[in-house]
């Protein structure tokens, strides 16, 4: 029946929108007919024509009023008045372009900043994983119940297979590890980043190849022939998008691999970083039965209906069984289940984005409050116009509605300009992210400029327009008609309520601006400390390149040593190079290695209390090249050769944690699974390891001559910044081995900057927000003070006529403005105390409640407020009492 009704309703609705004139004419005809018939009837009853006519009209009860009621019945009347208000609003904006421009620019900045940040919230937090039913993907984290520490990766290889066999929560568990492939043949040797993955990696994620197939179960067997899947990017760049790529053989690490599949461009597994090639992770029995270590990570897909918590309990039960079976290795070891959605956000940027989102919301509120204040100010100067309209019969609601429509119009323009500004903002953030770290970043660091983002942008614009438009609407609809009409133009003071509202807005605005500024200042300080802080080495003019020697070609220690010795000798001979050395671990590099250590002579470690240390084999001059400070003892020397006593240098943190009472020099460390015994000969300062924010860790350095490694980085110190050195170093490596891939030669400063990207972007964004908040706050308090001076010209005139000096007046106005500012600042400090607590997690060198920062920002804001009030105060002081009093 509903649908059938619309057959009748729809044409009527359309007619009242598109043929309003005709509908109105018909309405006129209908009522006129009625009146005529009625009049004739009364005449027939014996009335005079005039009397008959009058009775008919009376009975109708006001023809125009009835017409309006009939029009109201159309239901589209609302639209008509809306259109009318819109037209009127447009005219008003055109008539005061200054006001319109300031309001729209303010809103555009506020809304645009929100749109840009939201596009990242959207990409990062709302739809970060391009996989079907991504919420069922879970990451396994090893966890030490005694130390309360969690780590990526599984507790041990053997444990992983027990979890895989015994769990009842997961459809599949998948082991994986980041890996690199030395690709040779078909062009220059290339080092491709990628991963070794369980055969079920792609199926479990739910990712389909664009060409070929994914891996088969038997391809995970150690004896299986080698197969690989490549990314679309690699397929295009190295294989010229060869459509017959499937089945093609390539040389990887000196062995032959067959390409079986190509993944599409949107395939991204951001836990792995940039990855362009994947091969099956094959484990032999020795690895599968290793209950001590593991070198891979794992994720799984939950069975339908199983929750994360149930899966966690399931694995915890298996863990405690394993703990009883293998107390030596599994005491305190368990495995946690964390959602992949959470893990990828946690890796990079989530906190930064959330904090930005929160602060950018504050900036928007400040912008809105400013615009609302502008509108309030305008509404009070338009009081006369409203009084006239009210006197002509417009209801208060009708006037309020018109003001609301005008504010919506303004905010919609602001939203449109904001969307443009937001797009620019997203591009700015995208460009600020270095390409090399994109792989680790959700959605490759791109914001999502989609329907949701634009809906959000216009949603907040309209919402703010409604909320902040209500203020002037109610502020001015409360005017006393008589008073407003009687008062002379220019003398109209805003209603008391309106003025109080403006003060509240300004105080609130200042409070929010103080919060944003405190957060900004904290973050900038933290960033400065990090960037100019102590690395433990000198990064200037250092260049780094990582070399991975293929085991198939470099089979013996002598070959490995020979290669690095030759490369180092030739690099050192380059004119621009001051010194060059090699190290297995490189700060801010891509790989690291932790080895178990034991101090000889101490009782064996309790299970779960085994010591680990960041391990690196280095060439003798490494500390010198890095300009690391040797605290005691000696550095590793050329004399620490293959046949001499094995030695180790430890860092400060290891010294502090383990040798508080005794002298470490001369003591012995037992290192790694092979239980190598090394004598401690020196102590060096701590260095930063991966990020500027890292806490120091235990580190040990051994001699590369005694512990050769095929995974060394060459670090070179140039006398001065040099661009030629990079290619010279590559050429040197190829002169030693023409097939050896060389990763890009990069400066240490670049590596550090790259690692610090999230903090750098956040700091720049927040600096922008902070300045914006400060400016808007200052404009806000200026506006309110200026208007109050304008409205009080008369009063000031009287005061001066009665003997107040102009400095008295200045002081009075300043005091009034300052009172408002101080109230705002006080509120701001309280709110900031709460907000900054949430920031504590991303601050590494500054306390979130640093009193100096709070005090400085408060004082600074008071000064800015004072300066902003000074201009109107001066104007007030220059009031000529005679003019002020005469203008009545």
């Amino acid at each position: 029946m509903q649908a059938e009704r619309w057959i009748y309703k729809l044409p009527l609705r359309l007619r009242s929108i598109f043929q309003r004139q005709k509908a109105d004419e018909e309405l006129d005809d209908e009522l006129r007919d009625h009146l005529e018939l009625k009049t004739q009837e009364y005449i027939a009853q014996g009335m005079s024509p005039q009397e008959a006519r009058r009775s008919a009209v009376l009975e109708m009860g006001g023809v125009e009023k009835r017409k309006e009621e009939c029009r109201d019945a159309r239901g589209t009347h609302f639209l008509e008045t809306f259109a009318q208000d819109l037209r009127y609003g447009f005219r008003m904006l055109r008539k005061s372009p200054g006001f319109a421009a300031i309001a729209i620019i303010t809103l555009a900045l506020g809304i645009g900043a929100n749109a840009a940040i939201f596009s990242y919230v959207n990409a990062w937090l709302i739809k970060p994983l391009p996989f079907p039913q991504a919420d069922r993907l879970m990451v396994l984290l090893s966890h030490d119940t005694k130390k309360g520490l969690s780590g990526n990766g599984v507790t041990s290889s053997a444990d992983f297979f027990d979890y895989e066999k015994q769990n009842s929560s997961f459809e599949q568990l998948v082991p994986w590890t980041g890996w690199y492939f030395n690709l040779t043949g078909d062009g220059p040797p290339d080092r491709i980043l990628g991963g070794l993955v369980g055969w079920n990696f792609f199926q479990t994620l739910g990712a389909q190849p664009m060409l070929g197939r994914t891996f088969l179960p038997q391809e995970s067997q150690p004896a299986a022939s080698h197969v690989a899947i490549i990314s679309r990017g690699l397929w295009e760049s190295r294989f010229a998008a060869d459509p017959r790529i499937i089945g093609r053989a390539v040389t990887v690490q000196g062995e032959t691999y067959t390409i079986v599949g190509v993944m599409p461009a949107n395939f991204q597994f951001s836990l792995m970083g940039i990855s362009n090639m994947w091969a099956p992770l094959a484990m032999d029995d020795k690895v599968r039965n290793d209950r001590v270590t593991s070198w891979f990570q794992a994720f799984g897909r939950l069975k339908p209906g199983v929750t994360q918590q149930q899966a966690g309990e399931d694995l915890a039960a298996i863990s405690s069984r394993l703990e009883k079976l293998y107390p030596q290795t599994n005491t305190n070891q368990t495995t946690l289940v964390s959602s992949m959605l959470f893990e990828i956000g946690k890796n990079e940027g989530e906190q930064q984005i959330l904090i930005s989102f929160c602060l950018v919301g504050f900036v928007l509120l400040i912008a809105c409050a400013n615009v609302a204040n502008l509108m309030l100010a305008r509404a009070s100067t338009r009081a006369k116009e409203f009084a006239v309209r009210g006197a002509l019969g417009a209801s208060r609601l009708r006037l309020a509605r018109q003001l609301l429509t005008e504010s919506l119009l303004l905010f919609t323009f602001g939203g449109a300009a904001g969307a443009l500004f937001g797009i620019w903002g997203v591009h700015w953030i995208e460009d600020a992210i270095p390409d090399r770290i994109r792989g680790y970043i959700v959605n490759y660091g791109r914001g999502t400029l989609d329907v949701q983002t634009f809906a959000f942008t216009f949603g907040i614009a309209i919402l703010c327009g409604l909320i902040f438009g209500l203020a002037p609407a109610f502020g001015s609809s409360g005017h006393d008609l008589n008073r407003s009409l009687k008062e002379a133009a220019g003398q109209i003071s805003g209603s008391q309520a309106g003025r109080r509202l403006r003060s509240v807005f300004v105080a609130g605005e200042i409070a929010l601006a103080v919060v944003v500024l405190i957060c900004t200042v904290l973050l900038v300080q933290d960033f400065a400390h990090m960037v100019y802080g102590d690395l433990g080495f000198q990064s200037r003019n250092l260049m780094v390149t990582q070399l991975v020697l293929p085991p198939a070609k470099y089979k013996t220690d002598a070959q490995i040593r020979g290669f690095y010795d030759q490369v180092l000798a030739r690099v050192r001979a380059l004119p621009e190079v001051e010194s060059a050395d090699a190290s297995e671990f490189m700060p801010f590099g891509e790989s690291n290695q932790v080895k178990v250590i034991h101090i000889v002579g101490r009782p064996p470690a309790e299970p779960g209390e085994v010591l680990g240390a960041e391990y690196s084999a280095i060439t003798p001059g490494y500390f010198q090249t890095m300009q690391m400070v040797l605290l005691r003892g000696r550095a590793l020397e050329a004399g620490d050769g293959r046949d001499s006593r094995k030695v180790v240098v430890i860092n400060e943190t290891l010294l502090r944690q383990q040798f508080s009472k005794e002298d470490p020099l001369g003591q012995q460390l037992e290192i790694g699974d092979n239980h190598e015994i090394c004598t401690i000969v020196g102590i060096v300062r701590d260095t930063k390891l991966f990020n500027l924010t890292d806490r120091p860790m235990r580190q040990i350095y051994v001699s590369a001559a005694q512990f050769p490694s095929a995974y060394m980085s060459i670090v070179t110190r140039a006398a001065r910044p040099s661009t030629g050195a990079a290619s010279a170093i590559r050429t040197v490596v190829w002169s030693v081995d023409a097939d050896q891939p060389v990763s890009a030669v990069r400066t240490m400063d670049d590596l550090i900057t790259e690692r610090n990207t999230p903090n750098r972007i956040l700091t720049q964004l927040l600096t922008f927000f902070g300045i914006l908040a400060l400016l808007l706050g200052a404009i806000g308090i200026y506006g309110v003070t200026a208007q109050s001076v304008q409205q009080r010209v008369h009063e000031i005139g009287i005061r001066m006529a009665l003997g107040a000096s102009s400095s008295d007046v200045t002081r009075m106005i300043l005091a009034q403005g300052l009172k408002l500012a101080l109230a705002g600042i006080a509120c701001g400090l309280v709110v900031a105390a709460g907000v900054t607590r949430a920031m504590a997690a991303i601050l590494s060198t500054v306390k979130s409640n640093d009193p100096l920062t709070y005090a400085a920002v408060a004082a600074f804001f008071a000064l800015v407020a004072l300066a902003a009030c000074y201009i109107p105060a001066r104007r007030g002081a220059r009031v000529d009492p005679i003019v002020a009093l005469r203008c009545e």
């Binding site: 059938e4 005809d29 109708m60 109201d72």
Partner: protein, 111 residues
């Protein structure tokens, strides 16, 4: 005498639908018929008649058509639509129930 606006909410609508259920009429004729059928008990002013008619029309219960009357005037004739007829049946039932219930209550003897 109570004013038309005091008519029970929706009563006027019900009366109009019922009148139009008998035959299509124009506004003036409806006003005459209203007086005729309800006598002086229900006074519906001409003022409230037209807004009520337009509202029913917009709701799809009745439809309007311009036709020529017997004395050669063009007039807007209202007639009941199919959904309107069903609506009338439902409303009439409701009204019947309500009226019965109220008259039962009113007739209760005081003890």
């Amino acid at each position: 005498m109570s004013k038309p606006s005091d008519l029970v909410q929706g009563t006027l609508d019900l009366l109009l639908l019922k009148i139009l259920a008998l035959q299509p009429l124009n506004g003036f004729a409806i006003s005459l018929r209203l007086k005729q059928v309800s006598g002086d008990v229900l006074q519906v002013s001409d003022g409230s008649l037209y807004p009520a008619l337009h509202k029913l029309e917009q709701q799809g219960w009745i439809s309007a058509e311009w036709k020529t009357t017997e004395n050669n005037r063009r007039a807007k004739f209202y007639s009941l639509t199919r959904p309107g007829r069903k609506h009338l049946e439902k409303e009439a039932d409701n009204w019947g129930r309500l009226a019965t219930a109220i008259s039962h209550v009113v007739k209760l003897k005081e003890t």
